[in-house]
Symmetry: C2
Subunit: 400 residues, 2 copies
């Protein structure tokens, strides 16, 4: 593989949970050295669950390829260690509560006064200032507060998106902003101070429903049915597979009548010939499509629809994703040495994917090495915090 | 404002709909010159709706700050025009069906043979090859096919996420990949060929439920209720506001009993003292919280919860977003000259946001200027395609 674009870049990150770790995991994928600064208790995402070979699914997903150093920011020596690291770093990321680092003398101004080329990125819930700045801002809270839940789910009630979509989107926005700042620094030599809030990211992604509401036509929740197109619903095959079928226009309807419904005369039937009539008579349309789909197995329905170039998809569950012919996975190694298969990073560069194999660090796995490198005294982990995995030998991270 | 990081970068994009336009609108925000190549009929997203001052909400949101040139890729002269542009471009983006440009002699290999520094990015539904490569891949289809819908919504049935989240996420992934390739090119002088599929992006964002399913504990759909934490639900205030309240641990429960429920003794009541018992007795917990919230207005509930540092959020609709005290907007100008307010780009750079004002191009607004610049004959728009807005004078794009 090629040299990575971020080889030689040092990222120091005081992070926890999802948004900042997502951002820095992408920087690590691209070749940066990422030093994750953890409290003595560790990133609390380490304890979210045990779904990834006994480790937390979130933590394994978002912390592969990083180094972990335990730092107690209430201790002078450790604050000096952090400064020694940021003095040499290219990028500093943090998603603590607004004001936390400033109170310890580690605000962006202080760091950049010592290292003007440093790119600083703060990730928050509602921004650094404003009436909600101090509110807790878990992913689901911002999903609700931004209005995303109000347009997600069935007609009965609002629902959450099944993934931490606001956290992830915020991490992706931070990643892009940092990459832009690296490009700018190549020209100017100057760092940039970046602030990103989860609320702002959610609001921006909601631009389309925002505009519809501003125009007086707010979107409705319809589950998986399209409010103004028919047929556009889920139908079940004879072998029990749910298939979403989406007819886009009258031409496609005519094809569907011929190849699936076997009622070619319905193409011109005044009850169904136009998009408007098919919505008015949706119940009859759906009943006919349901009967035709129910009479065939999934492979046959797919063959017919594919041949007619009519849009469809399976309504898969997670087992369907795991078994999907288009799924690409990457292996990640847990601190205990187990290999966990994850969906691979999406981007393919010159025919190859970036992370073929990466290690997830144990809490403090790199503490001694990093303290030696940056000149601070070794940190003794309190005995109560020590876990078997922290005694593992740090291994070289295999990143292709 | 500073010089932008992508000033001087030329992006040529043969794009439609959402994913690629999202990507290139971000490159434009960062200072790139983005030339959008449209068919004589135009990007069909121009006709999705009329919610943005009579223009399409999607189109206005995702095409501000670009130039539009109409090109007929079935004509030799226009294929030469595209080559003349890509010969001078830094980035080329396309989200046509796999193979479309190759069949016209405009595949990435052909373009990069002429311009080895060109960064090419193809966005597809399921990738360039594989059994599903030719399937239609609208956002909702990939939401369903990837399994995202299966974990979104209430218990009754799967639901769509209320925004085109897979399209948007794919555009964001393409943006980051292109920025990485620009950084790499600064070192090597070489371009990169990038391929990104919507399915791969959705799969990667589904890593956590993927791991849970692989571990035999697939996630359940619970609407806005948390399956294993209580209280964690929506409650209605005396003035009719829905508030999501999330108690994280026994300490917070004790505080809630004191300040909101006014039953301090419940902190140690064996029915409720532990997280497990509160889930077992969820109905009683929720009834008590509901009664306490119902007896107060939203401001009072917020004051109490904020004082106790207990997590909560409003369950807002789009009008709630529009009126939100933390909403920042940017103005975008439609081809007809109307100003439309949109949620602003999230990232704040050195205290300022990027796009304070940008124009959305009419179809072919820059055709003549671009044809003159790149040496092709002017394109005469067929009379049937001409709309009033295409006769507007091209104006300088105001990008701060």
């Amino acid at each position: 593989m090629h040299e990575q674009p971020l080889n030689g870049i040092l990222v120091v990150t005081v992070e926890h949970a999802v948004a900042a770790p997502f951002c820095t995991s992408r920087l690590a994928d691209a070749g940066a050295r990422v030093v994750k600064v953890e409290r003595p208790e560790g990133d609390f995402a380490r304890g979210y669950d045990r779904a990834a070979a006994g480790e937390s699914s979130y933590f394994v997903w978002l912390n592969r390829g990083k180094e972990s150093v335990v730092v107690d920011l209430s201790a002078d020596a450790d604050r000096r260690l952090l400064l020694a690291m940021t003095d040499r770093a290219d990028v500093f990321v943090q998603n603590l509560k607004p004001g936390s680092l400033e109170r310890k003398g580690l605000g962006f101004d202080a760091l950049r006064a010592r290292n003007p080329g440093l790119i600083c990125c703060a990730i928050s819930g509602y921004g650094e200032t404003g009436p909600y700045a101090k509110r807790k801002a878990y992913d689901l809270l911002i999903q609700a507060e931004s209005g995303l839940c109000s347009i997600t789910g069935g007609p009965e009630e609002p629902a959450r998106v099944g993934i931490s979509v606001v956290d992830i989107a915020t991490g992706a926005a931070a990643q892009a902003a940092i990459l832009e700042a690296l490009i700018a620094r190549d020209r100017t030599g100057e760092g940039t101070e970046i602030q990103i809030s989860m609320f702002d990211v959610a609001a921006e992604w909601l631009s389309v429903p925002f505009l519809h509401a501003a125009a007086g036509t707010p979107p409705r929740r319809m589950g998986l049915t399209h409010p103004s197109i028919s047929p556009y619903s889920v139908f079940r095959t004879s072998d029990g597979r749910d298939i979403l079928i989406a007819v886009q226009n009258d031409r496609e309807w005519a094809v569907l009548c011929r190849i699936l419904l076997e009622r070619p005369e319905w193409a011109t039937d005044p009850r169904f010939a136009t998009a408007h009539e098919r919505v008015v008579n949706r119940a009859e349309v759906n009943a006919a499509v349901a009967a035709a789909v129910e009479a065939r197995d999934a492979a046959e329905v797919a063959r017919l629809l594919l041949g007619a170039d009519i849009a469809f998809a399976g309504v898969n569950d997670m087992d369907g994703l795991i078994a999907h012919p288009h799924l690409s996975t990457a292996l990640v190694e847990t601190p205990a040495g187990a290999a966990v298969a994850l969906p691979a990073p999406a981007a393919i560069f010159d025919g190859g994917r970036r992370v073929a194999h990466a290690e997830v660090p144990a809490l403090g796995q790199h503490s001694n090495a990093i303290r030696a490198e940056f000149g601070a005294v070794p940190y003794s982990t309190p005995a109560a915090m020590r876990t078997p995995s922290t005694t593992h030998q740090a291994k070289k991270i295999a990143r292709q």
